[in-house]
Amino acid sequence: MCTVLLVVDFLKPTRPQLALPVVAALLVCTGQARADSAAVRSSKPTAAVVHPEDFGDPAKVESALLAAAQLGNKAKPFAPAIEDLLSVGLPAHLAVSALTALSAIGSPSSSKVAAVYLSHRRSAVRVAAAKTLGATGGENAVQALGRALRSNDAEVRLAAAQSLGSVGNAQSVSDLAKAFDRGVHTAALSIARLCDDTNCDEIITRTARLSVEAQRECFVALLARKTPLGDPSFSRVATAAKTAGITFTNSELKALFGKLKLSDVAKAKIQLLVSDQVKK
């Protein structure tokens, strides 16, 4: 059992030269404490402590952020502290670590500061920010990712397209379709997740441009959406999959059904529609 304590403190203005945000990340585990970095990266993180006077030590700050990232949403209480850290400003590599930690935590409150980092001069930081927005959602996320999708930076576009698949909505589909048409093929999966009965054709008509594996992934996403498509769309998807020669094994269908926890009705529909494509 581990807990993480991340503290941001501002020293008194009587010492302006040290008036810095001070982060202390205290990761406490019930097991044997091991402070080496390998342990921090392991599946069973131990303790990492950053004392206030060590804030200027990027290695210690980074260790704490990595520890928070490893804890994932269990570190949610400390998301505001990390957000504050980013609001004050960090070197690029620490900004990436902070954003990665926020991504792992997945708190919507982090979207505001993550969106700001889409304007960072370094591509790696912008990519991290785009990924974080896909994990946190939040009120700024969709709009910020929409802007990132227009970026001149291919890595940022890729991350934005993927993140939109997680936090976007049906209104995001048209931009994702444009991105797809301009070579961002990872947008296909996002479209499959976000489209509705009015615009799923945006992806159905484009799947032929994808590799077989990517097509299969898209069709799976289309068939197994959390919000199932209506019957007409279902039919078009199934027909397109059949035309594309996409086949599913019984075990794949079983896994699909199990993973997505579909209703029986939805399962029956999928089974019915793709039954003649199922490899016995």
Partner: protein, 594 residues
């Protein structure tokens, strides 16, 4: 001093003395009377008598050389063409109604309108200039040895009625009613009576004189200025005759109005032929330039200027090299290397018509003494000057850069707000020659007009989804907008501050502009930029940008933000020091100082 009776005698001769086809009337030794006064008094008396004499108009023709064995021409009024086969070693000249050429030691005279051979005679040396008064053709040649001058007067039968040889350089002559006007040594003009075979008057000039020519029924002397032969000729020695000069302004490669009349030219056009001034002096009234316009040609570009203010009036872009030209009342006739003569309206630069010699030419000469070519009613209106300049800047040919750089400066100086849009288009259109880009950029940065066009351009960012791959000239726009103190541009500049696509150098200029222009609405963007990027100050332009942003923030009352960054351990030390100085020294007048 010349007697009035002698002058009258010289004009009273209906015909010149025919002295034979070879060497008749030859004047050897000193052609010019050493005792002759050059104070202009005799020349004034001659002018008083001469004034009643009409000066015949020359033929309106264009003449070219095709290869090394053909002289070709076209009557530009009716389009009739002719070809005359003869070796051509020297550049032919149009002399009134005659074309004079030479090749293989033989000189020939042709009817300018038909190309019919009038005469030939043995001759060495190339032609400096020629003139014809309807009866006699006078030709000034450079001796084979290159020194002095030879002038021969030849009648319609090919008989030499007078030959003058002198050690002095004799320029391009004129002949009117049997009197030769010979410019010599670059500062004298002597009137030489063909019948008497002697100099009857002389005048010296303060300006350089190597040409005598008849235009529009008047006689002129000059080279870089032209002095009319009128009642004020007596004042020529003190520089107060009826002299007209073109405005003193810098034009690419500084072409003179006319090149030296002492030189001779090969029958192939050179750079000097493509870079020239074309103007026609007023034949009566106050000294001036006909139509108030003169043209400078430079390669494939013709530019018209006001003869009074030197202001650029219009620009004509041509599809081949302009090699010759002539001004007429209401326009300019320009001959190109393809042998096409284009008539341009003096007022607007619009094309009034064309006339074709019919073959490409190695050299061309145009004479438009009586020519007129009004614009047809169907001719489209001229595009604005900014568009005319843009067309010229789109031309691609060797040696275009000089004139294009000149035109960029002209474009930058236009009051027309839309000229700013033209400059922006030149930079964003990705068609401007790389060598020209620095000039266009400097021109845009210097603009203070057309701010809406600048803002519109600045709003364009690269957009992957919309396929927008061009970027505006951010640096120059920032400089211009800051120079114009255009606070309305601040939000647009702030967007560039936060656009990762902005280059470090652009950032530096954007931030410098925002240092002046940012208002309260830009504080958030300024703060974001400083916070997010303060650890990225390794590059000097980014460091400079951060300092500018810090100054703007302090001005806008956000000193604590700057202070926080200046004491952040992750802020590079050099920047920390600079920010600390900024915090300490920058006053905080508040947003109202914007």
């Amino acid at each position: 001093m010349i007697s009035k009776a002698r002058l009258l005698r010289s004009f009273g001769l209906g015909a010149v003395v025919v002295l034979g086809a070879c060497g008749g009337g030859q004047t050897q030794g000193a052609a010019f009377d050493p005792a002759q006064s050059d104070d202009g008094q005799d020349m004034a008396r001659l002018q008083a008598i001469w004034a009643a004499r009409p000066v015949p108009r020359g033929a309106d023709v264009a003449v070219g050389v095709f290869g090394d064995h053909a002289t070709v021409g076209v009557h530009i009024t009716n389009g009739e063409r002719w070809t005359y086969e003869h070796a051509v070693d020297c550049r032919p000249v149009i002399a009134g109604s005659v074309v004079v050429g030479s090749g293989q030691n033989e000189m020939f005279g042709l009817d300018a309108l038909t190309g019919k051979q009038l005469w030939t005679r043995k001759a060495g040396g190339c032609i400096r200039g020629a003139s014809d008064d309807g009866n006699v053709t006078v030709v000034s040649s450079r001796p084979v040895n290159g020194f002095g001058g030879i002038v021969v007067a030849i009648d319609r039968n090919g008989l030499v009625v007078r030959q003058v040889e002198d050690d002095s350089n004799i320029g391009a002559p004129a002949i009117v009613s049997g009197v030769l006007f010979l410019p010599w040594e670059g500062r004298f003009v002597s009137a030489y009576d063909l019948a008497l075979g002697e100099e009857v008057a002389r005048v010296r000039f303060t300006d350089r004189i190597t040409h005598a020519l008849t235009v529009g029924g008047a006689l002129f002397f000059g080279e870089r200025t032209f002095t009319r032969f009128d009642e004020k000729i007596v004042y020529a020695p003190i520089g107060r005759a009826s002299t007209v000069a073109l405005p003193d302004r810098t034009i690419p490669d500084n072409p003179p109005w006319m090149r030296s009349g002492h030189d001779v030219y090969a029958p192939r056009f050179s750079a000097n032929d493509t870079i020239r001034l074309i103007a026609r002096p007023e034949s009566e009234g106050a000294p001036g330039i006909v139509g108030g316009r003169y043209v400078a040609t430079h390669g494939r570009v013709a530019m018209a200027f006001s003869a009074k203010t030197a202001e650029l009036s219009w620009v004509h872009s041509h599809d081949s090299t302009l090699v010759a030209g002539s001004a007429y009342e209401g326009g300019f006739a320009l001959c190109d290397s393809e042998g096409v003569v284009t008539f341009l309206d003096a007022e607007s630069g619009r094309t009034a018509g064309l006339s074709a010699i019919g073959v490409p030419v190695d050299v061309c000469a145009v004479q438009t003494d009586a020519f007129k070519k009004p614009l047809g009613s169907s001719v489209e209106s001229a595009p604005p000057l900014r568009d005319q300049i843009a067309s010229a800047l789109a031309l691609r040919y060797i040696d275009a850069l000089a004139v294009q750089r000149f035109l960029v400066r002209e474009l930058a100086s236009l009051e027309d707000e839309a000229a700013t849009e033209t400059l922006i288009d030149l930079l964003m259109g990705q068609v401007t020659e790389e060598d020209l880009l620095p000039d266009v950029k400097a021109a845009l940065a210097s603009r203070r007009q057309g701010l809406p066009f600048m803002r519109t351009a600045l709003a364009v960012h690269r957009d992957f989804l919309e396929g927008v791959s061009v970027r505006p000239p951010v640096i120059q726009l920032a400089q211009a907008l800051a120079g114009a103190r255009d606070v309305a541009a601040a939000p647009l500049l702030a967007e560039w501050l936060l656009d990762p696509d902005t280059t470090p150098l652009e950032l530096e200029h954007v931030a410098a502009a925002l240092e002046q222009l940012a208002g309260p609405n830009e504080v958030h963007a300024l703060r974001t930029f400083l916070t997010v990027n303060h650890s990225e100050a390794a590059e000097p332009p980014i460091e400079n940008a951060l300092v500018s942003v810090a100054r703007a923030l302090i001005r806008l009352g956000a000193r604590p933000d700057v202070a926080r960054v200046s004491s952040n351990v992750y802020t590079p030390e050099p920047l920390r020091t600079k920010l600390a100085i900024v915090v300490a020294n920058t006053p905080e007048p508040g947003a109202s100082a914007r």
